[in-house]
């Protein structure tokens, strides 16, 4: 951890705002001033309820949206404004994305080899056909599929296998950062574990960083080095996995953690989740500033709120 902190961040997001103008009088503030950093080779987990803006952040980083305000720096290069050709090619090769629904994100009319090699095709990253198919075969093997699968179509695979194809497509560009947007939530429990283990292995092998977006906290805890908790477009708390899970400070984080059902029928039946309602809790995210606690642990709060929260009893999980 310590060495990573001194290292230069791979991705630095400063005050990112992403607004969507729905009509003349109505603008959705999906992301409202979010800042965090991702260091090379680490996994940053983004959690929050639906509508909290976690997917929007991922999509803004990879420039599926144009950020309204704020700065996104990748390798020190600004990728938030208008992109010149150099920045755009950097963005499109070094950042890749894995999507949620493995059926919807693979073109059903293309063979798996063409899906995986599309990035290579676009950026002319091979000399001849032989090199292309060799690269595809290597990648298929890496994600636990057989080279002969290259000739098949997406519908011939199961959900877990399709997600492996999605991972292969992202990895073949040898990216520095992979944005995984709910990439296991559509899969079965036993298959989820397979895919997450694969992602961990590949990270060790290639040293890429993950921005892991999910709402399943137990899975996020398992894969992430650091976690950011989002609510209503604000990053309310961020820190290492231990900091968040051992000492959650923000009431929203606490309610999220206490809502996870434990696979224990004896304790679970009597355990009540902590409730949190933004309106009635009297918390104002706009008034809050980032308060640094220790290590990498920061909380969005006003001074008074922070004092109150720190005084509340620790969460029993």
């Amino acid at each position: 951890m310590e060495t990573k902190k001194e290292a230069e961040p791979l991705l630095e997001i400063k005050g990112l705002k992403q607004y969507f103008k729905i009509s003349r009088g109505y603008t959705v503030r999906a992301v409202d001033g979010v800042s965090f950093r991702i260091y090379p080779g680490e996994t940053y987990g983004l959690v929050g309820e639906s509508g909290s803006g976690k997917s929007t952040i991922g999509r803004s980083v990879i420039r599926l949206y144009t950020p309204t305000e704020g700065q996104i720096k990748f390798h020190g290069a600004d990728i938030s404004g208008s992109l010149d050709s150099k920045a755009s090619s950097l963005l499109h090769t070094e950042i890749q994305m894995i999507f949620q629904d493995p059926m919807a994100c693979l073109n059903p009319r293309k063979r798996v080899q063409d899906i995986i090699a599309q990035g290579l095709d676009i950026h002319h990253l091979y000399k001849d056909r032989a090199e292309r198919s060799q690269k595809v075969a290597e990648m298929l093997e890496k994600v636990g599929l057989a080279p002969e699968h290259a000739e098949r179509y997406p519908h011939q695979f199961s959900g877990g296998q399709r997600q492996r194809v999605g991972i292969a497509r992202a990895l073949i560009m040898q990216p520095k950062l992979i944005i995984a947007d709910e990439c296991v939530s559509a899969l079965d429990v036993s298959i989820q574990a397979q895919v997450v283990n694969l992602m961990k292995d590949l990270q060790q092998e290639t040293g890429c960083a993950y921005l892991f977006i999910a709402h399943d906290l137990s899975m996020v805890k398992y894969i992430s080095d650091r976690i950011g908790v989002l609510h209503l477009g604000h990053l309310v708390e961020t820190g290492t996995t231990e900091e968040i899970f051992q000492h959650p400070v923000h009431p929203y984080t606490r309610s999220l953690l206490s809502a996870i059902p434990h696979p224990n029928p004896r304790t679970e039946r009597t355990r009540a989740a902590e409730e949190y309602d933004y309106k009635s809790a009297g918390v104002n995210y706009h008034a809050g500033t980032e308060h640094f606690l220790e290590g990498t642990h920061t909380v969005l709060a006003t001074d008074e709120e922070l004092r109150r929260w720190l005084a509340s009893p620790p969460l029993s999980l």
Binding site: S50, S190, S255, P261, H262, R266, T270, A272, Y276
Partner: protein, 368 residues
């Protein structure tokens, strides 16, 4: 739950077997399922997608797809007739029309996974909740309206009267699922079937919805069947658990028996694969491979190719249900007296000990 004599069976599924005709052949989706549901109790059916858990309950409520055939079996449903007598009927032999008229929605109601697709986008939610009462009981409109407001309040919706005129798209996902629950309860059903009721929802809302269903069950005494793949949800709600794999029930028992004394290797795998908040291992346990394709006949135990404890006989003969206790059964040859003694994986054992230790005396007291 403790007293077995007072348990009244509401639903008994016997030897149910269902197949589907598809373009690539006949899929034997359900291969001999036995289940019992008693009054006021909660049964959870757990399994991967494709294990047949949804198909089983779809057969119960008579909404199998057109290409599905029931090959054998019976589903006995016991209910109180309007004139007070207790009737037991076989739902499978009932004509579809009678089923729609007397069972669906009225005595057995179902909550589906996605609240957006189970609500009619062109009707106000008030009209949708009243529909069942108007149709099944010919309730006068004014009374149905009052009852619908009550139901919405019961389901935890504030400003129920104002909400009656809303359309589904005006509500959030959690609110929609509450509306679905309200409309399912409108006709006082005997059985409520929840097919992954919270999979599409966030954890915080999930906790609230599960709590809501539990409170309603306490107040009305209905029986509930949960279908889920989330063992955390099972632990929270279930009295009894049935674990399904490849169209068969491989283990069933009380929630305590399944979580603290699992016997089937598949149940071991499921329990180990779930990351709990105390897991510190760097790797998650995985069940290797994928579920079998039920297009092809499955020789022996369907789980044996993925089972690291598989015996030779698993490839040849299907294991029967071995009895472990009055409520606990498992279908694995490991329980045969001739089988070698196999213990559950060490990590799982450690986890179970941890779970038992987490049960503080105070909670124990509260549970009793």
């Amino acid at each position: 739950m403790e007293n077995n004599d007072t348990r009244k069976e509401v639903l008994t599924v016997k030897d149910l077997s269902i197949s589907f005709d598809t373009t690539s052949g006949t899929v034997r989706a359900i291969r001999g399922v036995n289940l019992t549901l008693c009054k006021g109790e909660t049964l959870a059916i757990v399994g991967e997608s494709g294990s047949g858990k949804s198909v089983t309950v779809k057969a119960v409520i008579g909404i199998l797809d057109k290409n599905g055939h029931v090959n054998s079996g019976s589903i006995a449903f016991t209910y109180q007739h309007a004139n007070g007598e207790t009737v037991t009927t076989d739902l499978l032999s009932m004509p579809k029309k009678t089923m729609r008229r007397h069972i669906n929605g009225k005595r057995i109601a179902m909550i589906f996974q996605d609240p957006m697709t189970s609500l009619d986008p062109t009707m106000t939610i008030g009209a949708q909740i009243m529909e069942g009462m108007r149709w099944h009981y010919k309730t006068p409109k004014a009374e149905a309206y009052r009852r619908a407001i009550e139901l919405l309040e019961l389901a935890g919706i504030e400003d129920a009267e104002k909400r009656m005129k809303n359309y589904p798209h005006q509500l959030s996902g959690g609110m929609r699922q509450r509306v679905v629950i309200a409309s399912a309860l409108a006709c006082d059903p005997e059985i409520l079937i929840c097919d992954e009721p919270t999979t599409a929802l966030d954890v915080t809302i999930q906790a609230k919805i599960l709590e809501l269903i539990r409170i309603i069950q306490k107040n009305t005494g209905i029986s509930v069947i949960y279908i889920t793949h989330d063992l955390g949800v099972v632990a929270k709600v279930a009295d009894y658990v049935a674990v399904m794999y490849a169209g068969k029930i491989v283990e069933k028992g009380t929630a305590d028996e399944i979580f603290f004394d699992p016997r089937h290797p598949y149940t071991w795998g499921l329990l180990s694969a779930m990351p709990d908040l105390d897991t510190a291992d760097s790797r998650l346990y995985t069940i290797p491979g994928t579920p079998p394709n039920l297009l092809n006949p499955v020789p022996g135990d369907a789980f044996s190719p993925r089972n690291r404890y598989a015996l030779k006989i698993d490839d040849r003969a299907e294991p029967p249900m071995f009895r472990i206790s009055a409520t606990h059964y498992a279908a694995t040859w490991l329980l045969d007296e001739r089988a070698p003694k196999v213990e559950m994986p060490e990590e799982l054992k450690a986890r179970i000990v941890r779970m038992q230790e987490a049960w503080t005396p105070k909670q124990k007291e509260a549970a009793e």
